[in-house]
């Protein structure tokens, strides 16, 4: 699980390069002005490739924080 989290952190760092590493795990749409719709599209595309999963862009409104993304990806990876 730690390895999955590290990969998630790397994904977030690549999409939000200005975000300090110690703030990645607490990042959310509310706290991060750069997290707009374009960043969401990029983040989802990065996650899909990195974890080899399909994410429904329209059906995933809950992916609005690192923690939410973490829970979602963990669940999807476990399903696979």
């Amino acid at each position: 699980m730690a390895e999955l989290d590290d990969r998630l952190v790397r994904c977030f760092a690549s999409v939000f390069p200005a975000l300090p590493p110690d703030q990645i795990r607490t990042a959310s749409v509310e706290s991060l002005p750069e997290w707009d719709s374009l960043a969401t599209v990029t983040l989802i595309a990065v996650l899909e490739q990195e974890f080899d999963i399909q994410i429904d862009l329209l059906g995933s409104p809950e992916l609005t924080s690192f923690e939410a993304v973490q829970n979602y990806v963990r669940a999807r990876v476990e399903q696979n």
Partner: protein, 590 residues
Amino acid sequence: MAAGKRFTAVNLNLLEALELSRKPAADGAHPLRSFLACGFTPLHLQTFLGAHLREFFPEARIEIKTGLYGDLAGSLERLNASGLDALVAAVEWSDLDSRLGIRSLGGWQVSAFPEIISSARAQLSRLERALIAAAHSLPVVVSLPTLPLPPLFYTPSYLGSVEKAELFSSLANLALTLSRERGIRVLDSQALELAAPLNSRYDIKSEILTGFPYKLPYTSTFARMLASLLSNRAPKKGLITDLDDTVWAGILGEVGVDGINWTLEHHSQVHGLYQQFLSSLASAGVLIGVASKNDPALVQEAFARKDLLLNKESVFPFEVHWKAKSESVQRILKLWNIGPEAVVFVDDSPMEVAEVQAAFPQMECLVFKKDDYQAVWDTLVALRDSFGKASISTEDSLRLESLRNAAPLLDAFGQSGSASDDFLKRADSLISFGSAKLDKDARALELVNKTNQFNLNGVRFTESDWSRMLSDPSSFVVVASYRDKYGPLGKIAVITGKVLEKRLHLNAWVMSCRAFSRRIEHHCLKYLFEKFSADEIVFDFQTTPRNGPLQDFFVELLASPPQPGLTISRTSFFAKLPPLFHNVEEKENG
């Protein structure tokens, strides 16, 4: 490596592309400012293009601007080329008419087809005008529609139709017009198909939901090809080939001159193809040399055969003896006066290839696998990619002849590498000086960017840097051409700089290695002192790993190694100037 694999073998995923494109550039990195023009959301194409440009331009700080969504032609028409170094235009069907895409619902009725075709033609004309206008000040890379057409026409997808043919015909006409423009490079659709088949490209879900139409692996491949076209890398210069079981089938010493073959009836067609290919390379200015363990008299006889597709005039030199291949290669490199990294060695024997590779690790060494037809095909395609160039210059056609003519000169120069006064006096030489600013000479930039040995500082120019310098009224670009009784060398030296009263500042000075040992470099400086009535010349000199010949020239002139900021006064130059015997003419342009 086959052309397609060359582009897919280095595919990045999006995470890697983001990391690479956002990696900070080195301090002092020069910017490479590109404009990515596309009608769709640039999104991941911008990211992958940035990443692959980093790969091709590791020293540059990559900046990519983009235009307005859904208005490719408008973005191109509004383009302000100042402050840009390159334009990349990715055209898709919906840029010709939005009904050829899937994000607008303008109607696919049969009655609409004539209007769709006519509006697509009109849009292609707009694109053509805008791209040609941009190419006057920027290098331009263009890709024409890469995605499948949507199923709007009435025929089954596998059946051609007048409407589809009209669209493809209009595109082919555009590709033809653009390909004729010197500053435009059009992405080859077959090469793209080899690297990424049509059915691997389109992401309809992404297009509908986000406006970005490409699958990610395809985006990486596509972006890499666009970046590769922009990089305009220098082609290799020479190919050294074996003969037995490579240029022809059979061992000459065993089967004799009449026993070697290269045709269908002898089941040795791949050797004929290879001969034809070598002959094609030679006609495009590539140097072809032979390194063969063989009897020289027999080889001479074999090359007298009328049916050989590679004639002996296209080959120089022939290194035919029983010594190690690496010795032959060493001698050929010396005669050609080029480095191993600019040369490819081809031999059917893996052992010989390994021996040459060990001696020249920088050289590309290939095994000619005569029994594996696909491997031969892949080799020919890879060789074409290594030697391919956008256009053929006058110098390409002169290169072989001038090297052949230089061979007696090398003998005359002997070990010292310099010619005697007597020899130079009798050479009946002519140097023509002109300015590249008047005809925006492409050869001048090519020479500056590919010359290593006689190069003031190793600085390379982008096409837009060069254009800017040509249009700067305070700068000069002198080009020197040379000929003597041994033949013409074409344009062999380029000098750029600025005049500040009686002082010249040279920021670039290169001379082709083919022109060494004739005191042309001395005459270049003499010309500059006299042309600009200069009291001194300041050289933007930097030591590079390969500019030893230039350093030697300065050592000879100054009796000490050159340093950055090197300055030579008129008095000291003329005091040390050796006798010059060239005739000189001054032309308006280079």
